[in-house]
């Protein structure tokens, strides 16, 4: 690849058409190649908006988004898909495609309009499936597998897209405890193995503490803190951002935050 494919966001501002208030006011952070960068923030803080601006679904925005020093705002949808692989929130497609067929869709930006996936596309899809560890369900219908398996399928699809940046929108929001851990540890090992820049929006600060290399905390359209999760996520900050009193607990070198009950401010 040569170039370092960091994702840099600089003083990004966005407002919906016809509305007065900015959803994002001035968002600046960097997600490094090979790292998992988590975006934390309460509901309505602009996480999803930021996600949609970065992958190019919503525009125009003010400020700059750069990957490897290049600004993709003039890119075609196809070029953009080769740069950003997007993992959407859990959803149900209208037709029961097999897991393999869903993963193959990740190759859309490499397949011409009058053409179908070729052998190299199948190879990329199969490789992504085994990397995520879902070979045993690849012929099952996507609509008939569990939420955790669906999320892993979408991650495999994003890997098959062979893009240097992967963006995940709340991949854990519909998952049970075990699957949350499974999905995020898969994401982390892929970012290491493939040297991919991963950006993930999360609800639970503890998941950021467990899996993220860096964290950016969003509140009312601003980044209020950015850096190593262990130093950024403090009792004071969580109380300021979420309005929840917490205590940090440490055990075996793992730091977690625990809410103090009955004191929701």
């Amino acid at each position: 690849m040569g170039k370092i494919m960091n994702l840099e966001v600089e003083s990004l501002a966005f407002r919906h058409r016809g509305q007065q208030e900015d959803v994002l006011r001035s968002v600046t952070f960097t997600a490094h190649q090979g790292d998992v960068t988590a975006i934390l923030g309460p509901n309505g803080s602009g996480k999803s908006t930021l996600f949609k601006c970065i992958v190019g679904l919503w525009n125009p925005y003010e400020g700059e988004i750069k990957v490897g020093g290049k600004n993709p705002s003039k890119f075609s949808v196809r070029e953009r898909a080769r740069l950003f692989a997007t993992v959407p929130q859990d959803h149900e497609p209208p037709f029961p495609y097999s897991v393999l067929d869903v993963v193959l869709m990740g190759r859309a930006s490499y397949v011409g309009i009058f053409s179908s996936p070729k052998r190299k596309d199948y190879e990329a899809a199969e490789e992504a499936i085994s990397l995520v560890g879902i070979e045993h369900i690849k012929d099952k219908p996507y609509t008939g597998i569990s939420g955790g398996e669906r999320q892993l399928t979408l991650i495999a699809r994003a890997i098959a897209q062979s893009a240097p940046v992967m963006v995940l929108d709340e991949p854990t929001s519909h998952l049970d405890f075990r699957n949350q851990l499974k999905v995020l540890s898969t994401v982390r090992s892929i970012s290491r193995e493939r040297n991919i820049t991963v950006l993930v929006t999360l609800h639970d600060p503890n998941l950021a503490l467990l899996f993220a290399d860096r964290v950016a905390i969003l509140k009312e359209g601003y980044v209020v803190a950015e850096g190593d999760p262990k130093s950024v996520i403090t009792e004071d900050l969580i109380s300021k951002v979420y309005g929840v009193e917490t205590r940090i607990i440490s055990s075996d070198g793992t730091r977690l935050i625990c809410p103090v009950m009955g004191e929701l401010t």
Partner: protein, 333 residues
Amino acid sequence: MKGIKALIILISPIFIGWPALFLGAYGVTPFMVLKILLNETLHIFEIGDIPEKAIITDIRLPRVILAGLVGACLSGAGVTLQGIFRNPLVDPFILGVSAGAAFGCAITIGFLSSFPIQFMAFIFAVSAVVIAYTVARTQGEISRLSLILSGVIVSAFFTALVSIVKFLVDPHKLQSIVYWLMGSFSLADWRHVRISFPFIMAGLVPIFFMRWRLNVLSMGEEEARTLGVNVKRDRILFIAFSTLAVASAVSVCGIIGWVGLMVPHLVRMLVGPDHRILLPLAISGGASFMIAADTLSRTLTTFDIPVGIITALTGAPFFIYLMRKGGKEAWGR
């Protein structure tokens, strides 16, 4: 197992087309049909000037081929529209495409008889689907129910316009419009086949090559975009090609509903939803279905019942079955 099913569906038009040629008011033996066909194509047998020959080659064969072509169009367009609108409950008839095409044909028959009939049919069929889509689309995505409702509205609107044409034209032309609107192949001849064939192919062939895109488009607008698909352009192409096929079908045989809904569903149940397999099989399955329905329509009674009546009699219960089976899921997002 799936491979065998697929193969059977793929070659089914041949097995259904053959009995369609020997069944009918004038009895021809199955063997004689083969003999006549071989005589016509390879000139192996010498079979003099028997009446069966004219019945098979001039009357039944063009009718079977036309029915097959129309069935292929309606079913192929049904798969395409269901895919791009990610809605298993739509087809050209429900979305108002057929009604739009019918209006185009009616004004051509009524007032512009020197004009090629496919042209106006195509213009109004495209307008119908664009209106149905625009009306249904609120804030980015469209719900399944709202698309069907707007299809109903568009259908009603164009049907009313057809009524105006019927009211204004002279009674002689009125009769041909009314009969043709019921949907029938009873007037089919080689001229119809020759006129419609190039248009039908111009619609179906590009869709055949683009069919894998339907998989990606059916995941939704935003998702398809992040996967690298130019959603707007691809949708326009699919709509244009499928509407061209439907408009040329409607302009030779009138409105035949429900085929584009039923056949894709049945084929999807048998071979799965992957459009790379589904689309070609829905095309040949649609051809078989239409040939079978048309054969029924001319052999069931001594009259030639319009085939549109037969497809509606089977299609409406089928739609109810899908609705009940799908339950909330079918109507929601």
